[in-house]
């Protein structure tokens, strides 16, 4: 295999324009955070029952995706698939970028963001949230080390060991993120062990989709080759991951449907929940699951590039919908204070809580996405994360020849 050459991305007006747009979104996010902090959360759509809103949808999406974009690096290092190795650096960079973006949203939504230092110094180790703080910060350090051993030639002997460590770490991290919901006994929609594997499948799927969209965009803008062979393989993998998400989702709901206790919340999400039902079936399952799988496994439809791009975008949209349904839908459904009884009170007990995302919440979430992308773009600009060419004959000469012969 030819030695892979890496190069920073070039300067162009497009680059500056992109950064300017991202900066605008970041500023919008910061302004929203200030606005929410100054007036209190009264200016958001969140309330005492839907306590986590749009910022958390974005934050959880970004954090889950951060773990997932490391897929490509893991496949290369841990599972020894050589063709994926040239993309491992970008994979690591994106993992850091998405996690920072997600954490920024999470932190800026706190009621007292000024007390971040308290969160970093005072721990209750019985809380999965406290563990997650370590898992997130640790993830940043581990992935930074992973990048370092990949990019520093004298350290390349450690790549496999560090890669393994990062792989295990990200599985634990996503388990932790899923368990934020899985370990909540109070709410009907949560309290399920399947949340952890479901979140791992989600991270694989959303992360690979985000990675594919970004590498497609960067290679196109930069005019760098990206082989159809490697794209096809990554696309098929995305199809498998999207199917895994559907599988765990069906396990989650079938288990609940079997228990009469959970019939109420299932009826709400699956049939009578209005926007949540629509998002679940329409966006999460069909648009974000079945359609991309069909696209990725139907080679005659159109060029692989278009199919992969479209499928990735759909997986991400479906992913946001899925997290919205899990987080917001799960909270909108009332707590069961008195099983089997009709309940009502001045605090909205027994009734579905309405929630409408407010502009500052959405802006804060988008600010986090923009921050993640800005970190990625700046990283690509100042360090050599991306190979000059990802053409099939360079990254995977053996496979390129056989497939060429076959065609």
């Amino acid at each position: 295999m030819a030695r892979i050459r890496y190069r920073e991305i070039g300067s162009s007006t497009g680059f500056s324009a992109l950064l300017a747009v991202l900066a605008l979104f970041i500023l919008g996010g910061l302004a929203s955070a200030w606005y929410m902090e100054h007036h209190g959360h009264i200016v958001t759509g969140m309330n005492n029952l839907v306590v986590w809103g749009m910022p958390h949808v974005f934050a959880v999406f970004l954090i889950v995706t951060a773990s997932g974009v490391l897929n490509v690096a893991s496949i290369g290092t841990v599972f020894g698939r050589t063709p994926y190795k040239p993309m491992a650096r970008l994979s690591g960079l994106l993992a850091i970028a998405f996690l920072v973006g997600g954490l920024a949203v999470l932190v800026l939504d706190l009621g007292r963001p000024d007390r971040l230092i308290v969160a970093m110094t005072t721990y209750n180790f019985k809380s999965i949230f406290a563990w997650n703080i370590f898992l997130y910060v640790g993830f940043l350090i581990v992935v930074a080390a992973y990048l370092f051993v990949q990019m520093e030639r004298t350290m390349s002997g450690y790549t496999r060991a560090v890669g393994w460590f990062a792989f295990v770490w990200r599985l634990v991290l996503t388990t932790g993120t899923g368990s934020i919901f899985g370990w909540l006994v109070a709410r009907q929609a949560y309290d399920a062990a399947v949340m952890a594997p479901l979140f791992i499948a989600m991270s694989f799927s959303f992360g690979l989709a985000a990675f594919l969209l970004i590498i497609l965009a960067v290679c196109r803008v930069e005019g760098r080759d990206l082989g159809d062979g490697i794209l096809t393989r990554l696309g098929r993998l995305l199809g498998v991951f999207a199917a895994a998400v559907l599988y765990f989702t069906s396990v989650q709901h079938l288990t609940n449907l079997y228990a009469a206790e959970h019939a109420g919340v299932e009826r709400f999400i699956l049939f009578e929940g209005g926007i949540y039902t629509l998002l679940f079936w329409g966006v999460q399952v069909i648009l974000g699951g079945l359609v991309p799988i069909a696209l990725l496994y139907a080679p005659e439809l159109s060029a692989v590039r278009l199919r992969v791009a479209l499928a990735s975008a759909l997986v991400i949209i479906g992913g946001l919908a899925q997290i919205y349904v899990i987080i917001i839908g799960g909270q909108a459904y009332p707590l069961v204070l008195f099983p089997g009884m009709d309940v009502q009170s001045s605090a909205n007990d027994g009734a579905v809580t309405s929630y409408a995302p407010s502009l500052p919440e959405v802006a804060l979430g988008l600010g986090g996405v923009a921050l993640a992308l800005a970190i990625a773009v700046i990283g690509l600009k100042i360090l050599r994360f991306l190979p000059v060419s990802l053409a099939d004959e360079i990254v995977d000469p053996a496979h390129a020849q056989t497939s060429g012969a076959g065609a």
Binding site: W52, L116, F129, L337
Partner: protein, 263 residues
């Protein structure tokens, strides 16, 4: 001091009359019962007989005690909100009409059986669980359980993440959505932190009953009883031993300190 003399409480009594040992308590019971002759019925003994031991202001709370409450739903009239009003007044929170974002430390919940259409109303507040989920999930340890069983938020370490509100099975906690000023000196509360019923910890530390309990006896149906669940001789323990009582979502194993009778 003169008030003490009126009640003939010995000088060495540190914590007021109800913080007394058994003998003294009996003495006081007599005194208050005597005073009760001039009162309306149903307002006497509730404040007495719960406290297991005296505690000076400088002593820490004792794990020997577990504060709890017993609410007799039969005595809780539909439409009566004496406890809610008293709590709001005592702790300085108010309903502004936006029920979803208002603080509601205590609320009346109407429970209707869909089959028989019979309905009851009962006050629900922080249940002061022995195994509180809010305490388990709090990342900074701001949610905590005092040694005497009172579950509180240390607002100095609360970062406003609201995970405790996700975890509470009782919808008992509120997030302060707006800036506040002129809070009650004994009930600090501020924007961006989570709060809930404190069991009127400032009153309990003085040897008094929570405001809701007092108001329930003065203006309501006398449904609420406050006391030490760990003291087998306390009124509350005796009643829990004698009558079938329930805890809300007892199936969750959180062992709430608030018990309900005739639910």
């Amino acid at each position: 001091m003169t008030r003490r003399m009126e009640f003939h409480v010995p000088q060495h009594e540190k914590r007021g009359f109800e913080a007394a040992g058994v003998d003294r308590r009996d003495l006081l019971r007599g005194l208050v019962a005597g005073a009760g002759l001039t009162l309306a019925s149903g307002v006497t003994l509730y404040a007495v007989g719960g406290v297991a031991e005296a505690r000076a202001p400088g002593d820490p709370v004792s794990p020997e005690v577990r504060w709890g409450m017993l609410i007799d739903v039969n005595k809780c009239p539909d439409g009566c909100k004496a406890c809610v009003t008293a709590c709001s007044k005592e702790n300085g929170w108010a309903e502004t009409g936006s029920s979803l974002t208002d603080a509601q430390w205590i609320r009346k919940v109407e429970v209707t059986d869909p089959r028989t259409k019979t309905s009851r109303a009962l006050p629900v507040m922080c249940q002061h669980c022995a195994e509180p989920p809010c305490v388990d999930v709090c990342p900074t340890g701001a949610s905590f359980k005092r040694d005497d069983g009172i579950v509180l938020v240390d607002k100095h370490t609360c970062i406003g993440c609201r995970y405790c509100m996700m975890a509470c099975p009782y919808n008992a906690r509120s997030f302060i959505h707006e800036p506040l000023s002129d809070q009650k000196p004994h009930a600090p509360r501020g924007k961006g932190t989570v709060e809930s019923c404190t069991l009127c910890v400032h009153r309990v530390d003085e040897g008094r009953s929570p405001a809701c309990v007092e108001a329930c006896h003065a203006d309501g149906g006398g449904a609420m009883l406050f006391g030490d669940l760990n003291d087998p001789d306390s009124e509350i323990s005796k009643r829990i031993a004698e009558y079938a009582t329930q805890q809300i979502r007892g199936d969750l194993g959180t062992d709430p300190g608030v018990h309900y009778q005739n639910l």
